[in-house]
């Protein structure tokens, strides 16, 4: 890519820094989507032009400050007499400078407009629609389908087929949040009372991390989401499995776990399709064991992390809406067995 040289020059922190810039799971400079790619290119262009301007200003400053001058004392308090030719020459340079600045600004603005138009044109080709409702402090994700009973909900996770543009409808129920997956596209706010829209597309497989980018309260720092781009066939298979109701518990401990789930605080907030738990306050847990992370990207998914999360969510994400449920140790173990089987 044409911008490797300035990137290398500007990296501080040595090779490690460069590595990080080029391969980041939440990096705007490691584009995995069409829009992020165009934006990154635009950024490198701006960087190259503006770095040259900055270098010029620095050189002029150093020359102005340190150039050799006629020796001789200038008594304090008197003006150094101006010579008219110098003033005229400087005025001409000033005009050239202003014209040059304007020309650079116009050029950069033109490129910016061009990229803007390009990335907006993707909306026409969207094949899939996902509706995200942002809540404090998690993402409710609904996959729409023209056939209503083929829509389903999940939480804190978006899976998309590679190369297929996805329209993302953005709503908020409480405060302003911002949907941002740097590897794929710039951010768009989710504002209560408005419906915003963006389009994302992944050009390659991979797992990317998005994060809320508008301060939304206590746990704004821990409101991330996983975006996983997979081949089309794999996406279709995933979608089918997500549509299915929850896996029935097979062994005794999981059955006990389901019973505990439905008779304790869990049922007040969570949905598990296929059971009587149908509350929409908290995330849908029907296929929780398939998710890459827990608590909106705060913890990677594992049975141990799930245990810690259920046992004391306020220690991991203080201020989050999940309360300490007060399950006993046995109850917790059985609930874990049940939830870990919800694939």
């Amino acid at each position: 890519m044409r911008a490797r040289a300035p990137m290398a020059l500007l990296c501080i922190g040595g090779l490690a820094g460069c590595e990080r810039v080029r391969h980041g799971v939440q990096s705007a400079l490691d584009p995995a989507g069409h829009q992020a790619g165009r934006i990154a290119d635009l950024w490198w262009l701006f960087l190259a032009v503006l770095a040259a301007v900055y270098a010029l200003v620095l050189i002029l400053l150093l020359v102005a400050a340190f150039r050799p001058r006629r020796r001789g004392r200038v008594p304090v308090g008197s003006a150094f007499p101006q010579e008219a030719p110098t003033e005229r020459r400087l005025t001409r340079v000033l005009v050239a400078w202003a014209v040059g600045t304007t020309a650079i600004i116009l050029t950069l603005t033109g490129f910016s407009y061009a990229v803007d138009r390009d990335i907006l044109s993707l909306g026409h080709r969207a094949e899939l629609t996902v509706e995200i409702t942002a809540k404090q402090w998690w993402w409710q994700v609904k996959y729409d389908d023209p056939v209503p009973n083929r829509s389903f909900e999940t939480a804190n996770e978006i899976r998309l087929p590679v190369g297929v543009p996805v329209r993302v409808i953005l709503k908020a129920q409480d405060v302003i949040h911002s949907f941002w997956v740097p590897n794929l596209h710039g951010k768009t706010d989710l504002i209560p009372g408005r419906v915003n829209e963006t389009v994302i597309v992944a050009n390659r497989e991979g797992r990317f991390r998005g994060q809320c980018a508008e301060f939304c309260g206590f746990q704004h720092a821990n409101m991330a989401l996983d975006v996983v781009a997979v081949p089309r066939a794999e996406f279709d298979a995933w979608r089918e499995s997500q549509l299915a109701p929850a896996v029935a518990p097979s062994d005794e401990q999981s059955q006990e776990g389901q019973r505990v789930f439905l008779t304790s605080a869990c049922v007040m907030c969570h949905t598990i399709r296929g059971t009587t738990a149908a509350s929409r306050v908290g995330p849908d847990l029907t296929h929780i064991a398939t998710r890459p992370s827990l608590a909106a990207g705060t913890l990677p998914y594992s049975k141990g992390n799930l245990a810690g999360w259920i046992a004391d969510p306020q220690r991991i994400k203080p201020g989050s809406q999940m309360p300490v449920t007060g399950l006993s140790a046995d109850q917790l173990q059985s609930v874990l067995a049940y939830l870990d089987g919800l694939k």
């Binding site: 705007a28 950024w43 990229v115 706010d189 408005r194």
Partner: protein
């Protein structure tokens, strides 16, 4: 004592105006008696001397700077590594809100106003600022607002929704309690104070200039403050309106920002940023005034491109009102509208670029001597230009959509604010400290101050550009390990500590120099503007004789001494007003004596504002003491009792 001496003194007593008839020492003594503030606590509380009020403003603003800086250090310690638990989320949210709010509302704007209050009357050659009692009132109101906010913070009622306090997070449902109400009311306090000062500066600059100081001879610092004050007049009402709407929503249940009942959450953003963007130019333009004052003195040539610089000030001031939507590029507004604001945000780089060129040209064609003020100006150019260029990146909608609300923006605004305002401010302190106090600051400590600042600042904030690009959002109290953010954050924390060391050096320098610094004469730097034509520190009357100005750098134009006008009263406070364009002497205007009413009115206003945080009835009942205060303030003074002789 001979009879002749006695009769000379007797006849002097009947001379009421300065002029050839009154001897130099006698003039000085009588002016000092007329203009001096009474000693003691009462005099201190009732002073209307712009220099005393200006000094208070500067000291208070720097105290807030230090407090907000401590908060910044707390944040950096929390973010030095991943998943740290030094600060709870609630405490962190309060701290970053207080840091931003204090720096923007209680330090940056007031300190620029403070220098205006102190220096503008001196630079235009008048004896007092316009509306001196309003000036005193504005200081007390500012102090009350700042103290109220910090006491609230200490009592756990400090705001926690960010310095720009977006609704609905700051609204009644999602911001429970009184925290945001204290923030909104503090805004009211500081904006009343800022508007008052703006009015005074505009009137002083337009009507009270020394004879001969026509518009094209006004110092660039004064031009900058004039444009800034005009911006204040147009921008502050927007934030007062929005903060008042927010208070009303929270206190009495209006629905300005409630979309379900016909309001709009984005209305807040528009109103706030209509103020918020000009606010940063309100902070930056006085700093350009500092640069334009300091650079000619240390480059030892008059500033190049005076006209271009003045036009650039006006262009910036005007364009600055057309940019605010660039803070809202990602909110889903129509794309065509966004494009307009891209163009406007890019366009404002042109006047700034012109200013940079003029300063570089002055330096290039001059013969620089490297004292501390010039070091800070050089630092300003290095840092501010980088910040301005990252601003050009932010003006592009696609780029902004990636880096908005990330550490890239944090880096950008610290580069333009610290580089563009704080560096010139410190240069200004080193430059004008001799004038304010009569002593020089240490040059050696100043060099260390500068070096620690420059290195510490760049180490702290340059990595943040990269952090923003690799995905670190703003306003997060901690971040997970494994995202590659750890090293850069640690580096930023190290830089912040070095910057703090620079501040300590500065404080030590000030403390030491106040007692042991070299005694400064009237004009230790050999500068050309009028404030250097009087003693250091200036007498209460500013100028014993009002000077006549014949050029842009009066002391350089007339190295053998300035001509002066005579005829002003020495037994009463009197100013000379001149015409707006050509500064021809126009009328004489009395100036108020020290008065306790500004303080009493400010106390009444404070009670009213703080009460209205808790109940709307405070507006009704609080108006009564305020009315009493204002009546006392405006009570007509009896006409002067001593008739003037027709012929002297």
């Amino acid at each position: 004592m001979s009879a002749r001496d006695t009769s000379a003194r007797d006849s002097a007593r009947f001379i009421r105006r300065d002029g050839p008839a009154l001897g130099e020492a006698e003039t000085h003594a009588r002016l000092e008696r007329t203009w001096a503030t009474p000693p003691g606590l009462w005099g201190w509380l009732s002073s209307v001397d712009h220099k005393q009020v200006g000094r208070r403003y500067i000291v208070t603003a720097f105290v807030f700077f230090l407090l907000a800086g401590l908060l910044a250090l707390a944040m950096r310690m929390q973010l030095a590594g991943p998943n740290q638990t030094l600060l709870t989320p609630d405490r962190y949210n309060q701290i970053f809100t207080m840091h931003g709010t204090t720096m923007m509302f209680l330090f940056a704007v007031p300190v620029m106003e403070a220098f205006a209050i102190y220096l503008v009357p001196l630079m235009v050659g008048t004896r007092a600022i316009a509306f001196p009692r309003l000036n005193a009132f504005s200081y007390w109101v500012y102090l009350a607002g700042g103290v109220m906010l910090w006491v609230a913070f200490i009592l756990n009622v400090g705001p926690d929704v960010g310095w720009f306090s977006y609704v609905p997070l700051a609204g009644p449902q999602f911001g429970p309690g009184k925290r945001t109400d204290f923030w909104a009311q503090m805004v009211t306090f500081t904006e009343v104070a800022a508007l008052a000062v703006a009015v005074e500066i505009i009137v002083t600059v337009l009507k009270q200039r020394a004879p001969g100081m026509s518009l094209n001879r006004i110092p660039l610092f004064v031009w900058g403050q004039l444009v800034t004050s005009s911006m204040v007049v147009f921008a502050m009402p927007a934030v007062m309106v929005s903060s008042s709407m927010l208070i009303m929503d929270r206190l009495i249940g209006t629905h300005f920002f409630n979309p379900a009942e016909g309001g709009d959450a984005l209305l807040w953003q528009h109103l706030f940023w209509f103020f918020g963007h000009p606010e940063v130019y309100i902070i930056f333009l006085p700093a350009t005034g500092f640069v334009s004052s300091i650079l000619p003195v240390f480059a030892r040539r008059p500033i190049f491109g005076y006209t271009a610089l003045v036009l650039a000030l006006f262009a910036t001031g005007f364009l600055g009102f057309g940019l605010w939507v660039h803070h809202m590029f990602v909110t889903g507004l129509p794309h065509l509208g966004n494009s307009f604001y891209t163009a406007a945000s890019m366009a404002i780089a042109i006047p700034s670029g012109i200013q940079i060129f003029c300063w570089l040209a002055t330096l290039w064609d001059g013969r620089p001597r490297f004292a501390t003020p010039l070091l800070f100006i050089i630092g300003f150019i290095v840092i501010f230009v980088l910040g301005g260029l990252s601003g050009i990146m932010l003006a592009s909608v696609p780029i902004d959509s990636q880096v908005h609300d990330t550490y890239f923006v944090v880096a950008h605004f610290h580069y333009v604010l610290i580089g563009g305002a704080v560096f010139p401010l410190f240069g200004a302190v080193y430059y004008w400290f001799p004038k304010f106090t009569g002593r020089m600051l240490s040059e050696r400590a100043g060099a260390w101050n500068f070096a620690l600042f420059f290195v510490g600042f760049n180490l702290a904030f340059f990595p943040m550009h990269i952090l923003g690009l690799i995905g670190m959002p703003r306003r997060i109290y901690s971040y997970p390990a494994g995202l590659g953010w750890d090293d850069l954050n640690l580096l930023a924390t190290a830089g912040a500590l070095i910057l703090a060391a620079g501040v300590l050096v500065f404080l030590g320098n000030v403390w030491h120099s106040l007692k042991y610094g070299l005694v400064a004469g009237d004009n230790p730097w050999g500068a050309g503007t009028l404030e250097w034509a009087t003693s250091s520190p200036p007498p209460s009357v500013n100028f014993v004789h009002i000077p006549v100005v014949t050029g842009r750098e009066p002391l350089w134009e007339e190295p053998n001494g300035l001509a002066a006008v005579s005829g002003l009263r020495v037994d009463q406070r009197e100013l000379l007003l001149t015409t707006v364009v050509d500064a021809e002497p126009d009328v004489r205007e009395p100036s108020p004596m020290p008065s306790i009413w500004p303080l009493l009115s400010a106390i009444a206003v404070t009670v009213l504002f703080i009460g209205s945080i808790f109940t709307p009835w405070a507006v009704v009942w609080g108006s009564i003491p305020l009315a009493v205060g204002l009546i006392g303030w405006f009570w007509p003074k009896s006409p002067p009792d001593t008739p003037e002789p027709v012929v002297e």
